[in-house]
Amino acid sequence: MSGFDKVVNSYAEAMAGIEDNMTVIAGGFGLCGIPEGLIAEIKNKGTKGLTVVSNNCGVDGFGLGILLEDKQIKKMVSSYVGENALFEKQLLNGELEVELTPQGTLAEKMRAGGAGIPAFYTATGYGTLVGEGKEEREFNGRNYILEESITGDFAIVKAWKADRYGNCIYRHTAQNFNPMAATAGKITVVEVEEIVEPGELEPSQIQTPGIYVDRVILGTFEKRIEKTTTRD
């Protein structure tokens, strides 16, 4: 099934087609489950003016934070961006826009984008700044706001294992936003720790079916930990 073999062998191929001013949806929560090599490739390419949709923006010098160094990001759509001095500086300078979106709304916007649902109602954010300018509506006596879905030109995803057809599984809480991001990109690129042959993953345990995936690349990961907490 050559037509289904999604594996590419270089980061250049993996991110081929990314251009200035595109929207990139990225999986990950903090530094957990982030496509480290795909982010590095965007930095290397020097693509500018990006809108990046990701729960967070990495930290100084790691994760999406490295895209701030050369001012490649025009706008972030995130729920929490508090880990990053360079982010703060660019935001205060007006070099960077941020659209703060509640975490659950952000996850659902990505899922909806991938699922052909252009908009949905949620109580989250009703009566707050998040709800300003959005339609409000009552259902069964409760107030909701209308939220529109998100899709991206690219989705960059980190999975644990993928088969050659792009079927993916995630490891522990490194799953987070990755499955939704995978559905919402016009081109979805998955960076993985291990590539297996089709048939090696149990069909019912596949978390991202290959139909959502355009390219798979084998990565190497530093997996930096933001806060190491132990009980010792």
Partner: protein
Amino acid sequence: MALSREQIAQRVAKEFNDGDYVNLGIGIPTLAANYVPSDIDVMLQSENGLLGMGPYPTADEVDADMINAGKETVTTATGAAIFSSAESFAMIRGGHVDVTVLGAFEVDQEGNIASYMIPGKLVKGMGGAMDLVAGAENIIVTMTHANKHGESKLLSKCTLPLTGVNCITKIITDLAVLEISEGAFVLKETAPGVSIEEIQEKTAGKLIVPADVKEMTFS
């Protein structure tokens, strides 16, 4: 005397029932996990995609792929489930979490809460807090009763940007346990050695003091 952070957490833990699924925010709420009564069990939900959060790992067990919503390394409890962010907030937004405990800058007598943004200071974002307060039926706010300048955080109307409206029903502070009902704070319990007068003085919003106010107990 005003409660310590640990004592607030200890009082919060008394709110839990056997079999509760509980989401604990960063700070004092997280400490409540240390005081769950020994005869009950609760399961901790962490909004990054974990139901059944266990203790911190040993140094050997530390795994970058196993973190909680505070981005700390954790373990799983027996019977845990791990899932995507969409699934995690489906359970939060859908009202499946029994108890949510979170901190706040301000709460008002209408049950509004402000907890994520102070104008003029850099906004870091609301994370999952807006979803949590919109989703849970039973939301407990923990905070000091007044700020360090002695100004009340229990107001007639929140002054800071809101995290959610008409959603808070219970507040546990360093001075008191209060419920919000019909546009007023209702005093339920006082911290040991704290007078009703002090609570009245430090509550800017409408305060109702019923006849049967009790002194807090911790176990």
